[in-house]
Amino acid sequence: MNNSKTVVRVGIADMKIVKAPNIIKTSGLGSCVGVVLYDEVKMIAGLLHVMLPDSNLGRLDNVNVAKFADTGIHSLVELLVAEGINPLSLKSKIAGGAQMFQFGTNDTIRIGPRNVEAVKMMLDRLSIPIMAEDTGGSSGRTIQFDPKTGKLSIRTVNKGFKEI
């Protein structure tokens, strides 16, 4: 049996799913939010790198659903369901939503917290519980999720490494 782990990388405004023993990662989250949806028993997880809170803010023919919290979470659930996952068994962990700079328009400065709020609202609407979160602050994050252990590891520039 092949035990080697592959690290699947998710870009900005992107989403992918992964099965154990493989792990999934996204790097350089600033005001963006990383949303992990996972099934503990089946050891499958999806990771979404959200840039913006609401798809209604974008243009109508915008095809990249993974860019927005609402359409992104919805599509990630669909991807997991297509893999045979029962949506009721999904749990989530989230990280990101920092305020990187203190200037810009009011909307831009608050984009991190707004992304976090939008993600939580969407998860709540879909009745997906948030098991852990590491959000806010003013530092970028790189996150990695292992569907086998259900742990999300988070690396920041100054505060080092932690696991939630």
Partner: protein, 206 residues
């Protein structure tokens, strides 16, 4: 303007041309400030995805000192001056005359404002050259500094345009210190897509 379909090599070449003029002025200012020869290469101009943009600056996870400014006036956009931490330390030590470390989260106000001022001088001279050439009124905002991952820094400047687009034109100028072939920083200029039309009109290619 649908940026995916209508941007041609001619447009990108013209931006490269004006980018070179801006870079030459900025290099002169920076050389004078530091009293050593700074070279800025002919810019690379590309229409890239957001992930490709992070790769230009060394990859999304790379930790850099980033100075961020917005452009206001007849054109809107963002400017990032990104440099390795060691280079930023050396630069500030030279300017301030005492040792300095951007690795330390408790950075002194003095070093941060000196670094922001360097960013200001670079962008100011770059934009004034651009402004002379295009007859557009261009002003950089007050600079803001962050020591963090490339992805976390640049994505902040992508928020507004990402509502409508998944790609953007980036004018990337690499900075090189004399006597080394090492790239010592990037100066990224990202005009907002809604400014592309006025920019190309002012340059006579639309």
């Amino acid at each position: 303007m649908n940026i995916n379909n209508e941007i041609t090599d001619i447009h990108l070449d013209v931006l490269k041309e004006i980018g070179s003029i801006g870079a030459a002025h900025a290099a002169t200012s920076l050389s004078q400030l530091l009293d050593r020869k700074i070279e800025m290469l002919v810019p690379n101009v590309n229409l890239v995805t957001f992930d490709e943009m992070f790769d230009l600056a060394g990859g999304t996870e790379r930790i850099v000192v980033g100075i961020f400014q917005k452009i206001e006036g007849d054109l809107s956009g963002n400017i990032f001056y990104l440099l390795p931490i060691d280079s930023a330390n050396q630069l500030i030590e030279k300017l301030v005359g005492s040792s300095f470390d951007f690795h330390n989260p408790e950075m002194t106000e003095m070093g941060i404002s000196a670094m922001q001022e360097v960013g200001n001088i670079l962008s100011g001279s770059y934009l004034s050259a651009l402004s002379d050439f295009t007859a557009m009124r261009l002003q950089p905002t007050v600079p803001s500094l962050s020591v963090d991952m490339v992805g976390a820094i640049i994505s902040y400047g992508l928020i507004e345009l990402s509502h409508y687009y998944d790609e953007a034109i980036v004018i990337d100028t690499q900075i090189i210190v004399e006597g080394s072939s090492k790239v010592d920083g990037h100066f990224l200029l990202l005009p907002n897509p809604e400014s592309y039309i006025s920019l190309f009109q002012s340059l006579g290619v639309l």
